[in-house]
Structure formats: structure tokens, C-alpha cells
Symmetry: C2
Subunit: 157 residues, 2 copies
Amino acid sequence: MHSHDSPDRLDWLDAHYRAMPPVAALALAPAAFDGAELVLRAPLAANVNDKGCAFGGSLVSLMTLAGWGLVTARLRGAGAEADVFVADSQVRYRAPLYADLEARARIEGDVPAEAMLAQLRQDGRVAVQVAARVCLPEGGDAVRMQARYVAIAKGGR
Amino acid sequence: MHSHDSPDRLDWLDAHYRAMPPVAALALAPAAFDGAELVLRAPLAANVNDKGCAFGGSLVSLMTLAGWGLVTARLRGAGAEADVFVADSQVRYRAPLYADLEARARIEGDVPAEAMLAQLRQDGRVAVQVAARVCLPEGGDAVRMQARYVAIAKGGR
């Protein structure tokens, strides 16, 4: 296990999320990060729709934030400071979720952080594809997302 | 102008949105509906990210809710009660928005409400494509979404 396995090491991410009013409303918390996958959790009560299941906007927000946190955490872990943006996303809603939300995000193709860092340093920017999902407690996924994020080096190259 | 042009006629939609905690957090309000396009507005302050512009999750939520409201309003206007779900969506983030949010949704191909109603009555369900966007005050779009919604007749056919 790497030292960044501990959720305690995600305090910076938690503080970042909580500083944004619409994100604070989701009542989310970073749950785990093993260097490859970032997990965020949020209670159903703060994210429920009129049908008693998770609101689609909350599901997308949680996955989008998990992807953002993942890309940012990987670059930070490699020693880079960058501004990270989501560029586009495709979402498939598969089944209603009647439980707390847990979003998992990972880089598609398991691109090493070192490769992301090298491209960031060479080009001043790097684009990565992220796959995210929110699982159902009974197995399978409530929703899946593929999204492209762009990181731009702070202060140029 | 049709009688449903007035935002006053959207009280049911406003109440529906406000009953959901994550939607109430967006502080949105229905602004206009002319039978073809539904407009929702939300203040930047409740939806701002760490960069001082609109949070991507809020933009997607607002567009998704505008699409949901549009499909529901069109079917209601045609006399049908249906449960409406978003099935999938594609989002392109184009430019940061440093102003209040205004999402506009319309049915792609301008399918008449009567055609939607006929299929709902025949098959018990109808799927429609919605195009939504959030405009920039200086012109152009901050974000665009295409999404498929499915309406299922209440109480069978």
C-alpha cells in the first residue's frame, strides 16, 4: 500500500469540495484512493429525488467530481500542480439507486501518472479519459460515465 | 401565445423541483415555457466552483432538469400523466460561465406533443431526444447536452 492509500491524505480534496456551495450540498466525502481509483460517497438523504431514489444530477455531479479529484490527485502525487477541467462526458443511467451514493473513478487504460506528468511538462497540458460509475448495493451499476478531462500546467510549462 | 406561455403556469414544476433537496440547493426557478422550449434559471452564487465560474455538476443538473420538465410539461399539456426518466446524455463543456445560469431545453426534431402522446398511449412508453444548452451572456454556449428521456404511462396504457 502506498502512503496515499489513506483517506486522511485526501483532506485537501475534501476541503476543496466543501468550499464550493453546490458541492457542499451533496454532502460528499472522499472515501478511498489507492493511486488508481478514487472513491467518493454521499448520503442518499441529501441527494434524493421525488421517487425516493438518487437524483440524476447528483449522480453525475458525484462522478464528475470523482474524476476531477482522481486526475488532480494523480498529478499532485507525481509532483505537478495543474488546473483540471472536464471537457465532455457521456452518461448512461441504468437502474434507480435506493441507497447511499458511492462513485468510483479510474483513468481509462490505466495510464501511468508518470506518463501524464511527462506530457504535461512537454506540452503544458494533458488530456485523459476517465471511467466512473456508481454501483448498486445488489451488484451492477446505477449509472456509468466516460469523460475527458484536460489538465493545464500552472504557470506555463 | 398559448396560455401555457406564462411562468405562472409552471407552479407545479417549481414545487416539484423544490421538493427535492439536491434540486433546492441549485436555487433554480422555471423562467419560461412556450410549449416548445423550457427555460430554467439559477443564480451563480449557489452554483459557483472554486474558479469563480459555474460548477459543471450544476450545469448538467440544470439542463437535465430542464429536459425532464420539458418532456413532462409537454405530456401534461397534451393531457397525459407519465413518469419521465433520463436514460442517457452527452455533454460538451465549451466555455466557463461567470454569470447566472440559464438552461434552455427543446425536443429534437420538434416532435409534436400529439405524436408523443399517441405513442405513449399505443406502447405505454415513448422516448424522445432533448437538446439543452446553457448560454453565455456574450453569446455562444457554456455547455451543450443531448439526452434521451423515456416517459412511461402511469397506470399502464
